[in-house]
């Protein structure tokens, strides 16, 4: 079953992203939003974990939350895709279920 995993907490504040990536299945989708978008940053202590996860899952990040936090596209790990709110909705529809990692 395809699953959309959502992460809305900073990976530096709690291990929600790390646990999500550890337990997400092959070809699942992961959406980072709210403070979760910090997980998409290049050069951080979690960047290697995120890069490795991109081999097996698709990772998306909500553009509005990036902009609010002053993070531009060139700051992101290569391979992470930016989506808008419409894209967020489409991801929830395309997948059989949503697993929200709080």
């Amino acid at each position: 079953m395809s699953t959309l995993h959502t992460v809305n907490k900073s990976p530096f504040d709690r291990p929600s992203l790390q646990t999500c990536l550890r337990l997400a299945g092959k070809d699942h989708a992961v959406l980072l939003f709210e403070d979760g978008v910090y997980g998409a940053l290049q050069g951080s202590t979690v960047a290697d974990t995120v890069k490795k996860a991109l081999d097996t899952v698709s990772i998306y990040v909500l553009g509005a939350d990036l902009k609010a936090r002053g993070l531009s596209e060139d700051k992101l790990i290569d391979g992470i895709k930016i989506v808008d709110y419409k894209g967020f909705v489409e991801l929830t529809v395309e997948n059989d279920k949503v697993n929200a990692w709080l």
Partner: protein, 135 residues
Amino acid sequence: MSDVKKFMYVNRKAPYGTIYAWEALEVVLIGAAFEQDVSLAFVDDGVFQLVKGQDTTELGIKNFSPTYSALGDYDVNKIYVEKESLDARGLTIDDLMPLTYEDEDDDWAEKDSIRVVTAAEMAEILEQQDVVLSF
């Protein structure tokens, strides 16, 4: 002026995801009116509060980041950012908004308020405070 105390506000949360960052800023501005010796520390995810270029238009909530630029006018000009926290997040001082104040003891010369310090230096600065308020 022996009744002037050293107040340190410690910021450890990212902006927007929770209300802590904004609440801390409100308290700092209120506290500034009492003419105490005020410093701010940015540690852990708190360093994200100072990232430049914030634009909350699409979220429909207030972008309070321009308010940090006003701190200098309230004589809040000791803003310490922990280097270890920046490093862990892939950030440098160039990613932060420039914050300045005018030094009345130096012919109102414009000076930087932000000082990037190591954890050891931050520990020493905390040690010197009379009151520490953590957000």
